[in-house]
């Protein structure tokens, strides 16, 4: 259903357009829209405190806002989703990305990590850049 001109912030319900007051959507594609054009949670690139919180404690209880960031990152689309390839019993870990479908091969990115925690932080930074458009300015 195509939205009437000038009402990008509207949605179609029960046979009519409802203006819900949300500002017009940015043009597609955007890091904050999924492939179907649905608006996603937007990561605030100034919230370096959340990145620092994750770096200190990648697993376990997190602040509510960091959890939203992680949910956004971890629900990235199947194609290109980051995974770890472990070739030995306890590492090292190669970073890879899933293909378009489960039957497609995993493509290694070239990153290699000695621990899973190291990998978690590196992937967090990669996703931060992808979803905010900005390098994560933490070492």
């Amino acid at each position: 259903m195509k939205s009437p001109a000038g009402s990008d912030g509207a949605f179609y319900l029960m046979g009519r357009w409802i203006d819900h007051g949300v500002p017009s959507l940015p043009p597609f594609p955007s890091a904050n829209l999924d492939a179907q054009g649905n608006r996603m949670y937007e990561i605030d690139p100034t919230r370096l405190d959340l990145a620092e919180e994750f770096r200190k404690k990648p697993y376990g209880r997190h602040s509510a806002e960091l959890q939203r960031v992680l949910n956004r990152m971890r629900t990235e689309p199947f194609e290109g989703h980051y995974v770890l390839l472990r070739d030995g019993r306890f590492g090292p870990y190669r970073l890879g990305q899933l293909g378009a479908s489960p039957s497609d091969p995993i493509t290694p990115t070239g990153h290699v990590f000695q621990s899973v925690r190291e990998a978690e932080w590196a992937v967090f930074k990669l996703r931060w850049k992808k979803l905010t458009g900005q390098e994560l300015a933490l070492a």
Partner: protein, 733 residues
């Protein structure tokens, strides 16, 4: 790449019985070594108790020639004595078709009759071509003719394909059973054939595949079809296929298979009266809705005529049928335990586990450890971790593919688990022992089999004599298997049970039996088995529960038994009734610990906490970081926790990733995680039963992973040991 893999012909054996071992050297090794070992602990992690296996002097230990064994994956119907079609005679082939995976872009045979020798390829095939168009091919072994429709079949909708050979003409009609407004109902194509078709005498007929080779009793097939097929028929040539219906064709046919018959079997029945009955290979899904199902019933046995379809998958697998490398007669003096054949070759190692029960007439140990073989089967060769886009957010950690997972990802021919979708997107409902189950091994992730060895390790460390029994043997033998034991101990994740197993536990607990449920998410799903299919389970997941897929409407009753599938909670036998607790939450990022409740100071529970302080954190340690974790169970009087049950301890401090299970949420609402929701916790529960029996439940999968901490001297081991000692004491509780 795993270099060597194998399996045994069944999970459970007793002294005096034979066990066959089947090995494939996938890396091409010319020889390999075998050693039988008794597994004590499979946890080789740096923080764990270490890998422990005792070598066993066995006649089969030694060196064997290596070979790579073939696999034929994909289900099909096989009619060994097919239809006699005279030289040059016309005929018609037809079937209702509901394709599910056109995107694979390969030929998919619906029904075929092809010779494999002496002149391969003689015969015909009705198929979908790589573009999804209906196609009929006919060959005399040297020349081939074909006719193809000019439009593809739609996915997940019913079509009727009718191919006719008459004189020098091939005709193929594609009829849409319910065309959409913009669609044409019929598509017809014709082609000429300028050779005489081969004289086919009793050439085998295959459904959903073409026969490629026959090696002894093993059939090898190609061009597998994904989707549902209904009412395939072979009949006299019809003059006008555009007017034909499948029922009319089936009424007067050379052979016609009515899949609505014998649904609870692997037989396909020819209703022509000509005796062309066949079998199903590799467990396609039966009891699935047919073209005429519109919700009239949800239970296939009420109206089998609405369930005349079979769903075939190109990654279905029942039995790899590998040749046996060696057989071993279990010695009479071999003590009960978890064993494995350790097979090694250059650069490769595998363990082929099996479970040795005590001889039926022998003296029993006071304790039985129940190995969760049905759970191991349900998760066998699971792919869902890296095939489900929600896995990472569910686990709260990056997905990790070790060597086994990387191997399985490449080798779909090792079959799928009951957590996986088939390649066509439909959910897996059957799982078989007759293949290497590569995630049921020591020295790998601490989950199910390998995690359960922590209990065996602890029993061994404290010097407790115990026997090993299994889900499959309990299902077969019932309460008789339990009655000789003072105490039965489960593993960390006894998730799958049949009605007979629950009956056995209930009877046991009424007769002074003692049950220690040392896990979480237990007694959760209903399992069905079939007497003709040893080593196979079926699980039809129902309306609720933590699932990786939802089965189609109308397909939630087991084909093996006719029983409704799903949660035991949905079947009127919630786990809270049997063990006091039931599944409430899961999370996999960080595990936690328990704190005592006021009820833990009840005099009835005093024996449990001897040596444990009032304020001690229980299990804030362990190989997995805490004794409360992964999957959590709690008491719920509304679901059947006995009113006299004591909730002894409760877990705290779980993360945002621990969420309520779907069946605990009648509607979505904010605040379903452990930080905000008080129901996200594990509970330690104790209660007495019947004539002096009792149940102790830990409600957490990671409890057992804390037993070995500090050389088995910790409050998790102390509580578990206190309970075990008291349960073995013949005095009244």
């Amino acid at each position: 790449m795993l270099k060597i893999v194998g399996y045994t012909d069944r999970p459970s054996v007793r002294p005096g019985e034979h066990l066959d071992f089947k090995v494939s050297c996938e890396g091409g090794a010319m020889e390999y070594d075998t050693e039988i070992v008794r597994l004590i602990c499979g946890d080789d992690s740096l923080q764990g108790p270490g890998f422990k296996a005792e070598p066993v002097v066995a006649s089969v230990n030694g060196r064997y020639p290596g070979r790579r064994q073939r696999i034929n994956v994909g289900s099909f119907g096989y009619v060994p004595h097919g239809v006699h079609i005279s030289d040059g005679a016309g005929f018609t082939v037809a079937a209702l078709v509901w394709p599910t995976w056109l995107a694979k872009k390969t030929d998919q045979a619906v029904i075929a009759s092809r010779t494999v020798a002496p002149l391969p390829g003689q015969g015909w095939s009705l198929l979908l071509d790589a573009a999804g168009h209906g196609r009929f091919e006919i060959s005399n072994g040297q020349r081939q003719a074909a006719v193809t429709n000019d439009r593809p079949l739609p996915e997940r909708r019913w079509s009727l394909l009718i191919a006719t050979v008459q004189g020098g003409t091939l005709t193929l009609v594609h009829r849409l059973l319910r065309p959409l407004p913009h669609e044409t109902e019929l598509a017809t194509a014709t082609a000429t054939i300028d050779f005489r078709p081969a004289h086919l005498v009793a050439t085998p007929v295959t459904i959903a595949a073409e026969l490629e080779a026959v090696e002894g009793r093993r059939l090898f097939t190609r061009r597998h079809f994904d989707g549902k097929i209904e009412s395939p028929v072979i009949c006299r040539a019809v003059s006008d296929a555009t007017q034909a219906t499948i029922d009319a064709l089936a009424d007067d046919c050379h052979a016609g298979w009515e899949f609505a018959l014998a649904i609870d079997s692997q037989r396909i029945v020819d209703t022509s009266g000509n005796g062309h009955d066949g079998i199903l290979v590799n467990l396609p899904t039966r009891a699935v809705t047919g073209h005429n199902w519109k919700g009239q019933t949800l239970h296939w046995s009420d109206r089998p005529d609405l369930y005349g379809a079979i769903h075939f998958h190109s990654d279905d697998l029942h039995d790899m049928q590998w040749e046996t490398d060696f057989s071993w007669t279990i010695p009479q003096d071999l003590k009960s335990g978890i064993y494995a054949a350790r097979v090694t070759c250059a650069g490769g190692e595998d363990f082929l586990p099996f479970f040795v029960l005590p001889a039926k007439d022998s003296a029993k140990a006071p304790v039985a450890f129940l190995a969760s073989t049905f759970t191991f089967l349900a998760y066998a060769n699971s792919h869902h971790g890296y095939e489900d886009p929600l896995s990472e957010v569910c686990y709260g950690a990056l997905l990790e593919l070790g060597p086994t997972e990387q191997f399985l990802k490449e080798r779909r021919d090792f079959g799928i688990s009951l957590y996986d979708r088939h390649r066509d997107g439909s959910g897996g409902v059957y799982s078989s022992w007759h293949r290497p189950i590569l995630n049921m091994r020591p020295k790998r992730a601490l989950w199910n089999f390998n995690a359960d060895l922590h209990v065996v390790d602890w029993l061994t460390a404290i010097g407790q004599k115990f026997d090993v029994i299994t889900d499959d043997s309990l299902h077969a033998e019932g309460e008789a298997l339990l009655r000789d034991y003072r105490c039965v101990i489960t593993g960390s994740h006894p998730e799958y049970h049949s009605a007979g197993m629950l009956d056995a536990f209930e009877a046991y607990l009424q007769k002074r039996g003692h049950l220690m449920y040392l896990g979480g998410n237990g007694f959760y799903w209903r399992v069905a088995t079939h007497p003709d299919l040893p080593g196979v389970i079926e699980v039809r997941r129902g309306e609720a529960g933590t699932r990786c897929f939802e089965l189609p409407a109308g397909e939630r009753f087991h084909s093996f038994t006719g029983e409704f599938g799903g949660l035991w909670r949905s079947n009127g036998r919630a786990p809270q009734v049997l063990v006091g607790v039931g599944f409430v939450a899961e999370g996999f990022d960080e595990n936690s610990y328990f704190v005592r409740t006021a009820q833990s100071f009840d005099p009835r529970a005093a024996f449990i906490f001897e040596g444990v302080g009032a304020d001690e954190k229980i299990g804030d340690f362990g190989v997995l970081g805490g004794a409360a974790g992964y999957e959590l169970d709690a008491a719920d009087p509304e679901l059947g926790t006995p009113p006299h049950a004591l909730v002894l301890a409760r877990s705290v401090g779980h993360s945002n990733v621990f969420l309520l299970t779907p069946e605990e949420m009648l509607a979505g609402f904010p605040g379903a995680d452990a930080i905000e929701n008080r129901k996200v916790r594990a509970e330690l529960v104790y209660f007495e039963t019947g004539e002096g029996g009792a149940v102790f439940s830990t409600g957490s999968i990671t409890w057992a992973a804390s037993l070995s901490h500090d050389r088995y001297d910790n409050n998790v081991a102390r509580i578990t040991g206190n309970v075990l000692s008291r349960f073995l004491d013949p005095g009244p509780l």
